[in-house]
Amino acid sequence: MSEKNLFCYLMVAPALFLTLILGVYPMIDTMIISFQDYDLLTLQSGGVNWVGIDNYSKILADERFVQTIWQTVWMTVLAILFSVSAGLLLAQIINVNFKGRGILRTVVLSPWFVPPVTASAIWIWLLNTNASPINQVLMDWGLIDSNIRFLADSTTWGPFNIPMLSVVAVRSWNGLPIIIIFLLAGLQSIPKSLYEAADMDGAGMFQKFYHVTLPMLRPVLMILLALLFLGGFGHFEMNYVMTGGGPRNLTNVLAVWTYQEGFQFLRYGKAAAASGIILLMTITISIFYLWVESKDNRK
């Protein structure tokens, strides 16, 4: 090994060591546990046994778990849809030079300064059925007759319900700033002359957005979507703090389910299997992203 190579490995070593210890080892260990009958309550008497895919079969046979998988997907898709659409619009507005841009930028980016747990606590108050200022305002404007039970109404429309949409709204709000920053960076790298060429070619505002902005933002959007899906499938804190998965499991997501199974019911084997499902979903997204990337690079 040359001296230069050795130096490179030395520099990378601390980060690599931490990743291995804090990232890779727990992941592998969790995957091993997912194939074991690892239950803290019966650990003393029964010990740890290999059970193959038993944990997976059991949790997938559980209706509430399957419901949780779908809710995880729906909530992630909805949050991404809302936040990326809003991000695209707001990034475009902030990108234009106008008076008061600085103020708008600060307002739009402010959710970033609030940690998710704190934000959840604030929103629990804002969405509290009886004390919600939002209900108060809607009531004053005559838009509603009775209080909306933002986090407690269990009426469903297909896979959707009010608590789910409420949590999705808060997740979108909290995730918006980072999306805007990504998109702003992307927008600023688009040469102005392309818009002028489109002007000359006869494009209107929407045509410029569709034919110039969106394709030029594609690389940024791709990595952003990959990150949002990866983060979304594993999202924990807002769902856990705001609803804890309720009412009637309607806002439960995989990460919360895993936590409850592992640390409330102490069934580590099943919790690890649920983690395995999350891992499978994130791997699928990663492979899809890498495939699209390599396809783009080959063009």
Binding site: P191, L194, E196, D199, G202, G204, Q207, P215, M216
Partner: protein
Amino acid sequence: MASISINEAYKSYGQLEVLHGVSLDIEDGEFVILVGPSGCGKSTLLRMIAGLENITGGEIVLDDLVINKLPPRQRDMAMVFQSYALYPHMTVRKNMAFSLKLAKASNDEIDQKVSMAADILGLEPLLERKPSQLSGGQRQRVAMGRAIVRDPKLFLFDEPLSNLDAKLRVQMRSEIKELHQRLQTTTVYVTHDQVEAMTMADRIVVMNGGHIEQIGTPMNLYNKPDTKFVASFIGSPSMNLIDGHLDDDGRFTSQEGLSWDLKDFAPKSAFGEKICLGIRPENIFVDGEGVALGEAIINVVEPTGSETLLSLRAEKANLHILDRSRREFKKDENVTLTADKHDFHFFQASSGQRLS
């Protein structure tokens, strides 16, 4: 095809006025070049015609229609940008077809027009490539292709050759000129390169500091520059300009010690005035006949084959000569200079205006 008329056009950015009332009429089918140094307002004027910049004052009239307030897409003009501004995510074919697609042309019409433009510009083998897979010259051609498929009323070119190497620039120059002769579309072309302007234009508009200095045919500007600025800007190598005084007897004397007898042909208005005397390098001869300009010592010899550029010192003045006799010169050689009396240009020292 269209004629365009610019009447007293002003442009300001806040307090800063960059165009100070520019007027210009461009005939149908004409190839007009706006030329001038950086910051003279030529690109701004072009962008005002295109609709990419607002007009602060005055009006721009396209075929009897005032277009001041019209957005670019309603002006039916095509523009070739300095950076080409090709859409990087589209193939050459899609780049060229884009404006037609927006205009909701049928697929057959789009195919036919793109093929025709590709044929004119030799782009057929490149139609399925992306801009990143093209060389500078090819990109330039695609940008032109994108402009000509639309058959617009007006072509606008914003320094389209400045990113090309010297050889390609010469080639594209003649291609653009040929294209104009073929399509006869009214063209406004911006460049800072006076050679480009001289070789391509029907008429040249020389701009300086937000004003038009002179409008004329290339030969007209070369033979009879209205101002000292135009005299120095048009022609390569540029004109020798010598500040001095023409006394009442018609003798020109400069601070550098030159003393020439110009009484037989100097304009009457120049007598007794402080003037700037101009004479082009190609109009001064070594050991020739005509007006005697005295002796000079050769400082630098730059032969290019067909001609030789000489830098000389006459008294304390530096002069340039472009010699086409193909005679061999040596450094420090002493030579006698002459010039034809018709080749002297007289400018008022204070205003820079031509005296005639």
